[in-house]
Every structure is written in structure tokens, then in C-alpha cells.
Subunit: 190 residues, 4 copies
DNA sequence: TATGAATGAGGTTTCATTCAT
DNA sequence: AATGAATGAAACCTCATTCAT
């Protein structure tokens, strides 16, 4: 049985990777206005090559967002094996926060909202988060009405808030995360 | 020598007001990509008139953001007279959230960050929030390390997060605000 | 009663005219591949100005074709007053041929086919030609089955054919027109 | 030293044939804008293979036009043996018209004008037509001043004209051909 | 030899901004 | 002061052509 779809050429794979990395950086720095030209230059390829890999700028955005989501889902999946459900959720929170903090791409989500591929990946991410939260809920570590989506949105929001302030006080993010996690905890257990 | 700041003609004032209102709507709907042309059309003026009032698109953005901040600061000032500091803070939180929820303009802040006028207004807003929070802190209603800026950022972020999700579950925002306020509360008082 | 739509500014009219003239020349020289940039440069305006007058390249093509058709229809209308129907038709033929010969834009018709404005103008042109042919038919100067459309297509085709040959033998066009007109004549009258 | 013109490998021949056929179809459908990519796909080969056979798009166009001309010349040559010179010319006319009608590639001639190979083939075609016309002229079937080139151009033009009209009235082409042939006939013989 | 990824010039269109009216 | 036409710098995208595999 032959391989289902001939694997990409070596340089094609390299370029695709460079492009996604370059796009992440440019988007993080310049927002959605980052230009294809700049992304291509940073990736060290010609403008047309971008088009070959991603038929449209939106498609590139979707790929970046999808990659981000996939990595977060992988983290969640890995933490499902952790013995302490509450600690696992906290670690997921801080890992997610740190990842988002390094590069805030929240504004991209609006663009990629329509993309069906991204929708599927987000579904997977939310399901993974829900699994984590479910275990923590069963262990009484969080409020009974908290969902995986809630956790994702709140951490994303927190990071975004820290980003929106000009001066980067380094303790802000952990402090805010602590506030959030305190809020998520089961009220009666406090 | 003419008087230093001649008052605007009546119709000029009207146009300025229409423009700010139109800009808020367009920015809320189309994001930062809202075009000057669309804003002008919605305001019922010609494109050139926009530039008579705001030399630059960024200046218009700054004016919109400044207006928003000013209104929020006014709310905070008003609540300083309230007898119950904790309740006043909660009301400020929910009023702010509702205002932001109606029109999420968070993305504009990045653009207007450099503007010195906006910086001053933000300063005023944060000071007003700090006054509210200070009273609540003194009353033991919130953690001792919480600042006015913290409250503003967290509520702003939460609203933004709710906006970023496609399906608009109506109970999300109040639930998240509750989580936030729980997190802000003095831990030992719970 | 005010004028229905404020007249274009003087320079706008000038630019529109220059643009149409420039487009005709560029299209005649380079075919449909004539670029907007070249047309703008020849007209002495910026590229963006083209877009202000014609939202799309196809719209510009349609305007050029429409202008051409309008001028031909005017010629036909004028000849309707001529006393000799047969001579009038011949003159229409040669005038049309000469006009097309100066600038062969046949290839543009395919592009502008979908445009409803052009369709209306073509209708008018064909009707004018039909009126001319009708008079000639009644006078027995042409076959009974010939229509205005026939005459237009045949003369257009003939000119196009002459254009398709590299060496521009100057007597070709009149000779071919003679052949066509001979063919159009009433057989039994020969 | 290898033989000067090594014969093509069997699959290379197959590819060349497929490419020419695909090009004819694509050009007929999309005009000169038909892309190499589409032609390659229709031929079932990769884009790069196109350039192995035809160094340039223009070269491919030239090959298509040349093939067309060659086939027409073969028809003319065959008809030279026909006993009735007038009938032979008429048949050449209608055969040519039908061939062109199936696929109108007139617009390609402009592109291939510069190609020396095409020039030679066109020479051959025109010579063959001239031979046919010469016999008809000697037999008094056509005007004394008509040339082979005339016949070719007029029939080509007529077909093109019929193509340029949106609604495909099926009787137009024969009617126009009749008009043309009437016009070509010796005037005094009518 | 065939493939298809990479190239990069060039196309159309958009839009903030300037300026004649 | 207001208008809207003109400007021109990018933006995105296409496609003939080259070249690594």
C-alpha cells in the first residue's frame, strides 16, 4: 500500500515550518496588519512561496492559530496522567498563560473563527481542557459550575489584560493568575 | 492675535460628536480595519471633514478611547460618594463590564498607547479606580495587594474573553465577573 | 429645481476623458493585457484615480466599448436623414470600418459582454444599424434577409481580419469592403 | 557526439501530443489568459514538463497555431486534385470555416506573429490557398483580383464575427459564408 | 526525463491622507 | 469650514519560469 499522499519535499517542509514561525513572530509584533511580504522575508522565502503553502492570508492565520491550539491541547493531554487533579489544572493554567504571554495572538482568533479546520482543533482543545477540569471538579478542587471553556477563556483574558498595559510589571501575570485561580476554587472549601 | 482657542462653530461641534459616535460603532463592528470612508459616511460628513477634526486616523482612535475612559472615570467618581465601599466597587465593576460589553474596543488601546492625551486620561481613570479600590481595601472588602489598575485590567480582559467566543451564552459574563470578584476578595475573609 | 446630480468637478471630467482616451490607445496597442498602471501613466494620473472613476478594470473596458458603440450609433442616426438609402448604408459601412481600423478593439467585446450598460448601448447601436439596413432593404439595395446585426458583424470581422495580417497592405480594407458589399447586394439585381 | 536530432522517446511524443491538444482546448475556452498550469493539468502532466517541450508559453502558442495551419494546408493540398476548381474552393472555405468555428484561436495569431517557424508554415498555407484560388480564378469562378490570402482572411474574419455575438443563432455562419462567396464571385458572371 | 516547489515581477485593488474647489 | 477628487504606497494574489529532487 503506497503512502496516502506523497510526503512534502524536504525544502517544502522546511519552508512551511519557517513560515509558520515567522508568521507567529510578525503577528505577535505587528498584529493582524503584519504583511505577507514581511513574513516571507523573515522566513527567508519569496512572497509567492507563502501563497503556495497558504492560499490566503486567512489560511495562514488559521494555521498559526491551529498550531497554537494543538500545542496547548497536547499539554492538557499530557497533564491528564498527573496524579493530583487540582495541581494538574493549575499547571495547565500557568503553562497556557506562559505560552500565550510569550506571544499574544488573541486577535487572530477573530479572523480564524470561520475556518472549519480551526474549529475542529479548538473543539479538541476545549475537550482536553474540559477533561482536566472535570477531574479537578470531581476532586472538589474547583467550583462545580466551571467548565473547560471557562478556564481557557479566563486565562486567555488575563494574559491579554497584562499585555494591554504599557509598562510590563513582571509580577502582574502571576498575581492575576492567582486571583483567577482563587476565584475558580470551590467557594465552600476556602 | 486671535484668541488662543477659539470655540468651535456650532456645526463643527455637531460634526465632531457625530464622528466620534460613528467611529465607535464602526470600530466595534469592523475592528481596527474600519475605514475612514465608512466612518465619514455613517457620520454623514465627507471624508475630508474627518481630517479637519482629527489630523490622523490614530488621533481619531485616541479620541474614541479617551471618551470611553472619561465616561468610565466619571462613573468611578460618582461611586466614591456611595456609603458602602465594597458595594461601590462591585457596581463599578459591573457598570464597566456592561459598558465594555456593549462595545468592545480593547484592540484600540494598543493603537492609542502612544498618544499623550490618552495617557493623561487613562491616568485619571486609573486614579479614580484606585480611589474606589482604596476605600474597599480599607474596609477589608478586597485583598490588600489589589490596585485600581488590577481591577480595570481584569474586567476589561474578562469582557474581551467573552467576546472572543463565537456562541454568545448570555450567562457567561456575569459568571466570570463573579469568579473575578471572588478572586479579588480578601482570602482570609472568605 | 436643483440639478439632479452635482456635475463632476472640472478636473474630474478632464481626468475621466484622459483616462478613456488613454485606455483606448493602450488597449489598441497591447490588447486586453494593457495594464492599469500604463493607462494611468499615459493619462497622466495616479493609479488610484483610475479606480475612483472605474471601480474595476472590466468597468473601464465597458466604458471604452460603450463609448465606441455610442459614437458608431450616432453616425448611423445621422445617416438616417440621407436621401439615398443604399449610399447611406455604404457610407455607414466605410465610416465604421475606418473607425474600427484606426483602433481595433474587438477583443474587448468579449470582456464587456456581461456588462448590462454595454448591452443597452449595443442594443441601441444594432437598432440604429437595423434602421439603416431596413431603408436599404426597402429600396432593394440589399438582400432581403440581411439585418443590421449582419452588417455590423461583417464589417467588424473584415477589419479584424485585415489587422491580423502582419504586412499592412493599404488597399486590402477597401477591397474587402467591396467584396462584402457586393455580397450583401440583392442577388437578382446584380 | 550524439545524433543531431535524437528521436523523442515514446512517452515524450505522447506528452507533446497531449499538451498540444490540451492547449488548444484551454486557449479556445479561456482565450490567451489560459494558464500553463491549467494546460498542464488538462494534459495530465506536471507544469515543468510543459517547459521541457516548449521553452516558452509563446513557443507553445506558436506550436498550436502551426498545427492548425498545417492541417488547413493539408486540406487545401488535397482539394487541389479535385476536378471542379470552383467547387474545390468552396469546399475549402467551408471546411476551414468549420474547423475555425469549432475552436476560434484567432487571437493567438497576434502572439505567434514573430515566430519564424509559424511564419514558414503560414507561408505554406497561404501558398496552398493561392493555388486553389488560382485554379478557380483561371476557371472564372472568382474575381480576377482575389488572392489566397484574401480567402483565408475573409473566412477567418467571418467565423470570428459569428463568435463575437452572444446568442449563437446557428444559421448565421452559413449565411455569412454565402455572402462572402457571393462577394468573391466574378462580378460580370453573376 | 518528470515532478512540483520556489521564485519574483507585475497585476488589480484598497485606503489614509492631501488639496483644489 | 466642508467637500470629494487625486494621490501613491502597500496589500494581496497570479503566473510564467527556474531548479532541486
Amino acid at each position: 500500500m503506497p503512502p496516502p499522499a506523497r510526503p512534502l519535499r524536504a525544502d517544502a517542509v522546511r519552508n512551511r515550518t519557517s513560515l509558520l514561525a515567522a508568521a507567529e513572530i510578525e503577528f505577535a509584533q505587528r498584529g493582524s496588519d503584519a504583511s505577507i511580504a514581511d513574513i516571507a522575508e523573515r522566513a527567508g522565502v519569496a512572497k509567492g512561496t507563502v501563497f503556495r503553502h497558504f492560499a490566503t492570508k486567512d489560511e495562514l492565520v488559521a494555521a498559526v492559530v491551529g498550531g497554537r491550539f494543538t500545542r496547548l491541547a497536547a499539554v492538557a493531554d499530557r497533564l491528564l496522567d498527573s496524579p493530583d487533579p487540582g495541581a494538574a489544572l493549575l499547571e495547565f493554567l500557568s503553562a497556557t498563560a506562559e505560552s500565550l504571554h510569550r506571544q499574544d495572538l488573541a486577535f487572530l482568533q477573530t479572523v480564524s473563527e470561520g475556518d472549519p479546520g480551526v474549529a475542529g482543533i479548538r473543539e479538541r482543545l476545549h475537550a482536553a481542557a474540559e477533561a482536566l477540569v472535570g477531574r479537578a471538579r470531581d476532586a472538589g478542587a474547583v467550583r462545580p459550575d466551571v467548565t473547560g471553556t471557562d478556564v481557557l477563556l479566563l486565562v486567555c483574558a488575563t494574559v491579554h489584560a497584562v499585555h494591554s498595559v504599557p509598562d510590563p510589571a513582571p509580577d502582574r501575570l502571576p498575581r492575576y493568575l492567582e486571583i483567577i485561580t482563587d476565584g475558580l476554587r470551590h467557594p465552600s472549601r476556602a
